[in-house]
Amino acid sequence: MLARAEKAGKRQLFDDEFLKKLEYLYIVSKKVFAGRIRAERRTRKVGAGIEFADHRKYSAGDDFRYIDWNIYGRLDRLLLRLFEEQEDLHIYILLDASVSMRIGDPVKLDYASKIAAALCYIGLANLDRVSIIPFSAQLHREQLPSARGKARIFKVFDFLSGIEPEGQTSLEASLKTFVAQTKRRGMAVVISDFYDPKGYEEGLNFLRYNKFEPFVVQIYDEKEVNPPLSGDLTLVDCETGELREVTVSARLLQKYREAHETFCNELDEFCTKRAMPFFRTHTGRPFDELVLSIFRAGGFLK
């Protein structure tokens, strides 16, 4: 696998050791949700399934076969029985591949790729349909089409290794395009630093409004919180190229840390209020630890 990545001039992110960790994570995920039956992960889509889900008012044109006559007999109201539609779960990994993701030690994009690979592996192993969509100002042309089965994990590795960061971050534009292009709803895991000058709110809301289940993972580097800066500097925005002259003092650094913390808290609050699972991590944290915390928090494994 490494040799193949080297030949293609791609980043070397995944090795056998990484694969072993993924396998371990999969076993752990099974323990966490023991007793569940394979391939029975369902969407929230209500349709022609067997299992009762809910009632709704009858409206003209509805199939008479689904009218709950018992209710009609007792309450004299026409209510329609709804069943959960059983189908394969679609997991969309939306991976931020903007220029700001190339910063960090390790590079944020590499870290994000590992998380994406881990989540993909779990999804593939559960026979879910997993696809990876890199984005920056727009969705990247290179996307991993929907795949299923553990055997496809190498294709995932190969794809993730080949992603090159480019462009500015525009969550709104990217996610709108994603929603427009994707007919089948499912879980949308957004892995990003969320450094979008126009804000992240619109994009995430758009996912929600269109019946996707947003799953937010924010990644940052420690040096972004505590930049090793002092004296007179010209700050260059790596995405916009915007220049800003600043004389960095200890006080200013403290204010910056506070501002960064506020930014992260705002994102956390935004997601929590809208029932979107939110995870924040820095690149120094082992990725498997983060994946386990995602498992424990629930939502990803149903």
Binding site: P197, L233, T234, L235, V236, D237, K255, F263
Partner: protein, 688 residues
């Protein structure tokens, strides 16, 4: 405030230029480091808050600029070397006299020599001087230790550090004259003397404090008379002047307007020393000699000392001598002979008497001052002399020469002179006496006595002849006529000489020279114009003495009493050389080049001991030198010094602790302080 450096206009231009450059540099933005950040919007948020106080920030920037302009202004002002009106830029001119006389070799109670202490005091004094002061260091022999005035304290300290005590007595007259010359016309003149005060009082009293200027001098120190001290400046000056000197001395040393201070050193005064040591040959027997020794006790107690005489390295006499306190004892050692030429007298502690208890160790020095415990003398070498007499026979002449047992007389007839003159051995004779015979030519070297010369071969031109002459004019100062009475000698007739250039007339008969002498480069001549047999001179004692004197003059031994030389004096050592200079080798091997004039080497004597005078074409001559100065041997320290009726005081302590008056120094310190403030505020981001 005035400026001693650049003018105000120049400083203004300098400040304008430097300040302009500073402002331009300040306006120009610094090339900042670039740093890539992932999300500049966060920084924007922070900076927006900070920029709400941008007015204050601009003010801080302005403060920083003003601070730097203040730095430039201070530096430019420092270049101007400002000084205040009450503190003149000119410093004092100080002549520092460091006593290097022999008495400074005396050891004090703590075992240190006085000179070491004096040097330390001078060092401390120099360290406390203001940077504007200029110092000239003089030794007590009147010589300067450095060629010029020194303003660099370290340099002057190094000069003082290299000074050493000498063997010469202090010559305060010369020192004070040199100091007065050096300080004349200088601003704020001061004279500081550091020593033990063992100086001749009359030398100190040669000082003249001047008229009005003396007021300033006397005001700086207390005066001897208490009444005068309260009588105001002018009164103090007048009272301090010796009343017995109404007229100004011609040789007075003018120290008017000069502040004179004295720093005393020394605490011991016990000294017994040799103040005179001489040797002389007997006139009748020059192989024998007698020695004269004088010892003086300067302490307050009677003392017994052991006197040891050493000749040629061998002790020839040892005796114990009692010397009462403050008294002298003279010792004469007669009829000494048969020993070497180098004589030395040594004083040491007298051995304890049998049974007497003593707690003094044998090798303990006799006293505090060791230099005068030894004295040196030199006996001129004396060997038997051969004299050739060219005569047809003259009993009076031969008999007179034979009286001296050190003279061996050889006689030849005048006819044999030509052969003898051709013989190289003729040079071995101490003298050749021509009695009634005048050779046509003389050898190039040698000493010759002519008795009644005649004809053209006469060494002195003969003008004529005189009957029954008397010696009316006699050159008694000449060595040939020393101890000789010839005024009443009866002479039948005599030739009259015509003196030529360089001729010495020894005796004349009413301006008619009848006895002559001449000194040439390689010859010495003496002539009597009459035949001694035609006079009563041979009947007189003067006759053999005259001959011996002549032979001594030929030998260069013109001083029967061969006195030893004294250090600190100008030595005029007889030394026959054709060269213009000779070398004096001192006892420690040091060589001093000295000029030769009129057959004498002239040099200032510095060391005690045996010296050798060397020349290229002359046999070396040896001499002995002693301190032999009772004033210098009296090492009693003088805590106070009175100079021409004015008691000298120590330098005021305030002047030692005076802070540097250079304002530029404080300006630079202010620059340093401001730089520290700027650096601190910058590093703490107060002014950025």
């Amino acid at each position: 405030m005035s400026l001693a450096g650049y003018s105000l206009a120049t400083l203004g231009k300098l400040f304008a230029a430097a300040g302009g450059v500073l402002v331009v540099l300040y306006i120009l933005k610094l090339r900042r480091r670039r740093f890539e950040v992932p999300f500049s919007k966060l920084w924007q948020r922070v900076l927006e808050e900070k920029e709400s106080t941008s007015l204050f920030r601009r003010l801080k920037r302005l403060l920083s600029l003003l601070l730097q302009l203040a730095l430039v202004a201070l530096l430019v002002l420092a270049l101007g070397d400002p000084f205040t009106g009450d503190r003149q830029a000119e410093g004092r001119h100080i002549v520092l006299v460091l006593d290097t006389s022999a008495s400074m070799r005396a050891l004090d109670l703590d075992g240190q020599s006085r000179f070491v202490k004096a040097r330390k005091q001078a060092d401390e004094l120099l360290a406390a001087l203001s940077p504007n002061d200029a110092v000239l260091v003089l030794r007590t022999d009147g010589q300067t230790a450095a060629p010029s005035w020194g303003a660099d304290a370290k340099q002057v300290q190094a000069i003082v550090g290299s000074m050493q005590p000498t063997d010469v007595p202090a010559d305060m007259r010369r020192v004070l004259r040199a100091a007065a010359d050096a300080l004349r016309g200088r601003k704020k003149p001061e004279l500081i003397i550091i020593g033990d005060g063992a100086y001749e009082q009359d030398e100190l009293d040669a000082v003249d404090w001047g008229g009005a200027a003396a007021g300033a001098v006397a005001a700086s120190r207390p005066v001897t008379e208490p009444a005068a001290a309260t009588a105001g400046v002018a009164g103090a000056t007048a009272a301090s002047k010796p009343a017995a000197t109404p007229a100004k001395r011609l040789d007075a040393i003018d120290l008017g307007g000069v502040k004179v201070h004295y720093l005393a050193v020394g605490d011991r005064k016990d000294n017994i020393g040799i103040v005179e040591f001489n040797v002389r040959r007997y006139l009748a027997n020059k192989l024998s000699f007698e020695i004269f020794l004088e010892i003086q006790n300067f302490s307050d107690q009677d003392a017994e000392v052991q006197v040891e005489l050493v000749a040629g390295g061998e002790t020839i006499d040892v005796k114990t001598v009692s010397v009462p306190r403050h008294d002298k004892v003279r010792q004469i050692y007669p009829n000494r002979s048969g020993v070497g030429h180098f004589l030395e007298a040594r004083l040491s502690r007298a051995p304890a008497k049998p049974g007497a208890a003593t707690n003094v160790e044998k090798d303990t020095p006799l006293d505090a001052f060791a230099l005068d415990d030894r004295a040196f003398a030199l006996l001129p070498s004396r060997a038997k002399e051969s004299v050739l007499v060219v005569t047809e026979g003259n009993m009076f002449l031969e008999g007179a020469l034979m009286l001296d047992e050190n003279i061996e007389v050889f006689k030849i007839e005048p006819g044999g002179w030509a052969a003898a003159a051709a013989d190289p051995s003729i040079a071995n004779f101490a003298a050749v006496v021509f009695d009634g015979y005048t050779p046509a030519t003389l050898p190039a070297r040698g000493n010759f006595i002519f008795i009644a010369p005649s004809g053209p071969g006469s060494p002195f031109a003969i003008a004529g002849e005189t009957e029954r002459p008397f010696m009316t004019e006699i050159n008694k100062s000449h060595p040939i006529l020393r101890w000789v009475t010839v005024a009443d000698v009866n002479i039948s007739r005599s030739a009259v000489f015509t003196p030529g250039p360089g001729d010495i007339v020894l005796a004349s008969n009413i301006r008619q020279p009848i006895m002559m002498a001449r000194r040439e480069k390689t010859r010495r001549l003496m002539a009597l114009g009459f035949d001694v047999r035609q006079s009563d001179l041979p009947m007189r004692v003067a006759w053999p003495v005259l001959l011996i004197n002549t032979l001594d003059w030929f030998a260069g031994d013109d001083a029967e009493l061969m006195t030893t030389f004294h250090t600190g004096k100008l030595w005029r050592i007889p030394f026959d050389t054709a060269k213009a200079s000779a070398t004096l080798v001192e006892p420690d091997g040091a060589e001093v080049h000295a000029a030769v004039a009129e057959g004498r080497v002239t040099v200032l004597g510095r060391r005690v001991g045996f010296h050798t005078v060397k020349g290229d074409d002359q046999t070396p001559v040896q001499i002995a030198a002693n301190l032999a100065d009772p004033v210098e041997s009296d090492i009693t320290p003088h805590g106070e010094l009175t100079m021409a009726g004015v008691k000298l005081s120590a330098p005021p302590p305030a002047s030692r602790l005076e802070l540097p008056s250079a304002i530029w120094l404080y300006l630079l310190l202010a620059v340093l302080a401001l730089t520290l403030v700027e650096w601190t505020t910058y590093s703490r981001r107060v002014t950025v």
